[in-house]
């Protein structure tokens, strides 16, 4: 996205007005908003158009903003990360795939979508290129979802 910000900023800003959900990484969010704090950056970017915003923070997970609410999805700490290429795209694929499957765009379901995005990104980085995703099974996806639930659930 840096490419579009650097090369056709006006058209890019125009396009943003029509966006419902934008997924970008922390660096892009800071460049776009000219604000270092991601919470402040999110507010600024939402004023540009997107109703919901996902800020991906690589190995540190992702933040979802919208409806004056905020949600954090962790990334699964992995023993071996071979190649981060495509992780953000895999995140977007899992995210939008879950929304299409469920047909539900409530904030609660967007939270689940962010987790499914993180699940797909966690597989992507385990091998070079598309190898891991192309051989992946539904069973592995559901097992990893359980790992995500265990990773971040606790009682008070």
């Amino acid at each position: 996205m840096n490419f579009w910000m650097d090369n056709c900023y006006v058209r890019f800003k125009d396009c943003l007005k029509n966006v419902d959900v934008l997924t970008i990484n922390d660096e892009e969010a800071r460049q776009l908003s000219e604000e270092y704090s991601l919470v402040k950056a999110a507010k600024i970017i939402q004023k540009m158009g997107p109703k919901y915003l996902v800020i991906k923070k690589g190995e540190h997970g992702a933040l979802l903003f919208g409806e004056e609410k905020m949600f954090f999805a962790p990334a699964l700490p992995l023993e071996n990360v071979f190649d981060p290429t495509g992780a953000g795209d895999s995140f977007a694929g899992g995210f939008i795939g879950h929304l299409q499957k469920t047909g539900d765009i409530s904030f609660e379901n967007l939270k689940s979508a962010v987790i499914f995005g993180s699940v797909m990104a966690s597989f992507c980085v385990e091998k070079f290129g598309t190898e891991r995703l192309s051989e992946l099974t539904d069973n592995e996806v559901s097992n990893r979802l359980t790992e995500f639930v265990k990773l971040s659930s606790f009682s008070v």
Binding site: D83, G86, D89, I96, Q100, G117, M120
Partner: protein, 116 residues
């Protein structure tokens, strides 16, 4: 409702602290399609490749229930190529080479079947 994916289908050459690849299949639209295919069987892809792009990789997308009718294959032209090197923390990377090739003149066209 279906998911329309417009983006790059590409060749990447990648170097990370764990190894190095020659040209392998990549591109944002490829990753998005594959990841989304675990949830949705209504995926429609609009992109462009050259005739150097492996038929098996297009078949791999089809096997994942991706409708590739919107994937243009340009005879005598080369697929978009990106090469990058990751730093030790894997969070940042340098672009080594970008060859736009077919992307330079790409005109995304929605096939008639995608409008239904």
């Amino acid at each position: 409702m279906s998911i329309l994916i417009v983006g790059t289908v590409a060749f990447d050459a990648i170097e990370t602290p764990f190894g190095k690849t020659d040209k392998i299949v990549g591109g944002a639209a490829t990753y998005i399609s594959l990841a989304a295919s675990f949830f949705s069987n209504k995926l429609r892809l609009v992109s462009v490749v050259g005739d150097d792009f492996p038929k098996e990789s297009i078949q791999m997308l089809k096997d994942h229930k991706v409708d590739t009718e919107g994937l243009q294959i340009k005879e005598g032209e080369k697929t978009f190529f990106w090469s990058g090197k990751y730093h030790n923390d894997m969070n940042s990377r340098d672009t080594v080479d970008t060859q736009l090739n077919v992307l330079e003149t790409f005109d995304p066209i929605l096939p008639e079947s995608f409008t239904r």
